[in-house]
Amino acid sequence: MQHPAFEEVSFQHHTDDAEFKRRVRKTTILLSIITIIELVIGLTIYTIHKGENPNHTLVLMFKGMVCILTLAKAYYIVSVFMHLGDEIRNMIMTIVVPLMLFIWFIAAFIWDGNSYKNLRNKYDKHFEETTMPKQHHKVDEHPAEIKTGKE
């Protein structure tokens, strides 16, 4: 379709109807499958947390997987649903390059929060005693219990 009001837009995307429908269906199914996988991982994390000795490395690994799946979802929404993938390269770059700032943004602030926690635990013992999850103390108690059981 021509856009008479916008003559400066010279190049039209010719999307074939059947091809378009196939693409939308494929993307919808992909997004749904990724969401279902995310939910399964979420429930897995829940079950691990419920257990006696939660494996924190495993939980962290699952959380990392969910983050990667979310980025994949974001890619499909922006590229297919918002048609950014069909725009010309120069235009895509003006959107994507500024977003690179997020790499620093996330890393710096998470790092800062973590450093604040470590400093507080070191210098504010009241904070550490009142907020540290009890599981950490349990780990220390366990060997003592085993000993008394043997004797």
């Binding site: 379709m1 856009h3 008479p4 009001a5 916008f6 003559e7 400066e8 837009v9 010279s10 190049f11 999307t15 109807d17 378009f20 939308v24 919808t28 997004l31 749904s32 969401t35 995310e38 939910l39 991982i41 979420g42 429930l43 994390i45 829940y46 947390h49 959380k63 969910v66 983050c67 979310t70 979802k73 974001a74 929404i77 922006v78 649903f81 918002m82 725009e87 010309i88 120069n90 235009m91 003006t94 959107i95 977003l99 997020f102 943004f105 996330i106 602030f109 998470i110 800062d112 929060g113 973590n114 604040y116 926690k117 507080r120 635990n121 550490e128 907020t131 540290m132 999850p133 009890k134």
Partner: protein
């Protein structure tokens, strides 16, 4: 050779056309959405920063485990997955509305836009239910040596660590108010009505409290409530304005505004905004409900 080069390669910067091959409004919508992404990003990163500065953070599966009509059943992730699918499906109907606009198919635009609006309103209703459930929820917490019943608000939340020290709980009963005692007993004792319990003395009520049937927690990090209501509220506000924009688009389509104009580019701009709302939800879903 030079002729083949000119036919295959468009000189975008030679003037007379948009170097980005987009009309002004759509390009500006993209830049607005990019700035909005930074706003949401800043909120979520600030949430992450605070979360990393705490030794303890509430487990989302403990906080979000309710489903409308399911009473006190423990259903983690169930309701939020319904909300997520509603938003994904409404994003798909929006793609179809934009596509119908490309073909100049007025009836198609009206049909798919209407479904998108329905999806948006359904999502907002879900969010309203969830907020109401969290704010009015009644959860027993151990605060300053006494038991209290609170919901999740900006001022505090009941999502702290589980209290395993039974002696501390029993001692806390002596400082607990009559009204709280009634609610505590009522939460697991269904043989007495509220009126019957209200007539009992504190000593009787204390004897009836059964800690084994309750999960009494400490108060959670105070920032949790503010971040949750702030970020999901800001997202909900975007969904709300998206629904309003879509309703305006629907009315304009019905009044033949776009047909007379010769193109449905406005639907594309509204579509970009709507997809962005879905995109943000993907990250809100990740930060608050999954990890």
């Amino acid at each position: 050779m030079s002729t083949t080069a000119t036919t295959h390669q468009t000189k975008w910067w030679s003037g007379g056309k948009s170097p980005f091959n987009l009309e002004y409004g759509k390009l500006m919508m993209w830049y607005f959405l990019m700035s909005d992404a930074f706003t949401f990003g800043a909120f979520l990163i600030s949430y992450g920063s605070i979360r990393f500065s705490q030794n303890f953070w509430p487990d989302p599966n403990v906080v979000f485990n309710a489903f409308p009509g399911a009473g006190h059943a423990n259903l983690p992730l169930a309701f939020v997955s319904v909300m997520t699918f509603i938003l994904i499906i409404s994003s798909v109907t929006m793609v179809l509305a934009v596509h119908a606009g490309h073909k100049g198919d007025k009836q198609g635009v009206i049909k798919w836009l209407a479904w998108t609006i329905v999806g948006g309103i359904a999502f907002l209703s879900c969010q309203a239910w969830e907020w109401h459930h969290l704010i009015t929820g009644e959860h027993a917490v151990l605060v300053d040596g006494k038991l209290d019943i609170i919901g999740q608000t900006m001022g505090g939340n009941p999502w702290g660590q589980l209290v395993e020290d039974q002696a501390a709980l029993t001692a806390a009963l002596n400082n607990t108010s009559h009204d709280t005692l009634i609610q505590l007993v009522h939460s697991h004792d269904h043989t007495h009505s509220m009126e019957q319990l209200a007539a009992m003395s504190d000593t009787e009520l204390k004897g009836m409290v059964n800690f084994a049937e309750m999960h009494i927690r400490e108060k959670g990090p105070i920032a949790f409530g503010g971040y949750f209501f702030g970020i999901t509220g800001f997202h909900g506000f975007h969904v709300f304005s998206g629904v309003i924009i879509n309703i305006v688009m629907l009315i304009m389509t019905q009044k033949n505004v776009f047909q007379n104009r010769g193109h449905y580019l406005m639907i594309e701009k509204a579509g970009l905004y709507w997809h962005f709302v879905d995109l943000v939800w993907v990250f809100v879903f990740l930060c608050f409900y999954l990890i």
